[in-house]
């Protein structure tokens, strides 16, 4: 009995170390994903992703930790979208309105760029947004994306193509080309 308890305790400690390792390795990456997926509170959502990963640690294959986490992140983001949608339907929450793009300044340029990016991403459908973020920002391969999203490679290719087209259209609308000189 005591031996079994010791074994459980040891396994618990090992799991805790494992999840700590995951957090140290992948926290920033998952946080960025949650941000670009449009999470209302990226830090909170990121914690949630790791909590779920902890619970499902036994399902995580060695060497595929990142894909495992991305899969959870995609589902958490989807759940948040659904929750937001429900709240809007019940008029509990006004629809998200992306803030106007602020004036440029050197100090804030990256933040502004991110705000513009988020504004454009918000116009993509969730499927296209996920594919675009994973491919263009996080630079996952189409094969990796297919794996984490659980869809065929052909579907990923199609989504990526449509996502890039939609992104381009939105980019041109929000930030028209200057034809010949950098903005």
């Amino acid at each position: 009995m005591i031996k079994m308890a010791e074994g459980d305790h040891r396994a618990g400690v090992q799991a805790e170390i494992r999840v700590a390792e995951l957090v140290h390795l992948h926290f920033d990456f998952i946080w960025r994903l949650m941000r670009r997926f449009g999470a209302t509170d990226a830090e909170d959502a990121t914690q949630h992703v790791f909590m779920i990963a902890w619970k499902k640690l036994d399902q995580m294959q060695l060497g595929k930790e990142r894909a495992f986490l991305v899969g959870i992140a995609v589902r958490v983001a989807a759940d948040q979208r659904k929750a937001r949608s429900r709240r809007r339907e019940s008029n509990e929450e006004p629809p998200d309105v992306v803030a106007p793009i602020p004036d440029a300044s050197e100090l804030l340029e990256q933040r502004q760029a991110r705000e513009l990016l988020d504004r454009i991403l918000a116009e993509l459908t969730p499927d296209l947004r996920e594919a675009f973020v994973l491919a263009e920002i996080e630079e996952l391969t189409a094969r990796e994306i297919a794996e984490v999203l659980g869809v065929p490679a052909g579907t990923v290719a199609s989504r990526l193509r449509r996502a890039r087209e939609a992104f381009q259209l939105a980019l041109d609308r929000h930030w028209p080309a200057t034809k010949g000189q950098a903005p």
Partner: protein, 270 residues
Amino acid sequence: MKDDTPERKERLLVAARNDAPPQGARDRALLAMGVAASASLAGAEAAAAKLKTAALKSTAAAPASGASLLLKAVGLGTVAGALGMATILGLKGQGTPPAREREAPGSVVPSATPVQRPAASREAASIPSVIVSPTPATSHTAAMPASALSAPGGTPVPTLAEPSSRPPSAAAPAIEAERALIETARQSLAAGRASTAIKALNEYEARFGFGVLGHEQVALKVKALLTLGRRSEAAVVGEHYLAERPNGTQAATVRRLLAGAAPTPSSAPE
């Protein structure tokens, strides 16, 4: 004519790749999850070893290998972050049973909302006018003590974003002054000195009006007033903000503060 489309797109993508969580976010997550300091340290060591191996492989192999991507995604400072955790967590013993079940997100430790800062002016719908040069993502080389910014009901209160590692610019001094006042207020509030926090926030308002960090100023002020039991004043400040900026970056936080409710837990796939 030269098409600048790739440049425009790349500027946005680079900015997104350089995005980083607020300072101390990783440590707060470990703390909120109930990971013991000893486990965090051990995990950090394992992570550091993995990174080192990846770095060696990436040196030997192609530069765009998965290892280099991993390094890029992870950033540096893993061990330092873990050491910070040890400091935060103190003497929490090894093998402490983890908090297996999550309560409301952020209910254990207030999580900081990554701040989407408003710019100095929102008059014009202009675009970023300066080419964004790739800069390394902010690394968390030092852990920030977990702030004690917990509202009644555990509502998270915003904290400042990571200090910029970018070169200073002409706008930097004003921004830094704003940042310093907000940081003073935040730390004062965390230390239980709500009156001091309010002084700093009033000074901020007098100097900058609704400045670049105006959203954060309001949220902190509402929180500070509530801490002092000045609910009616908090309501005035908060309601005014919500009326003016119903979709402001801190609108949800202010609503939660005023409602005295805990943050809405997001449902998760099980």
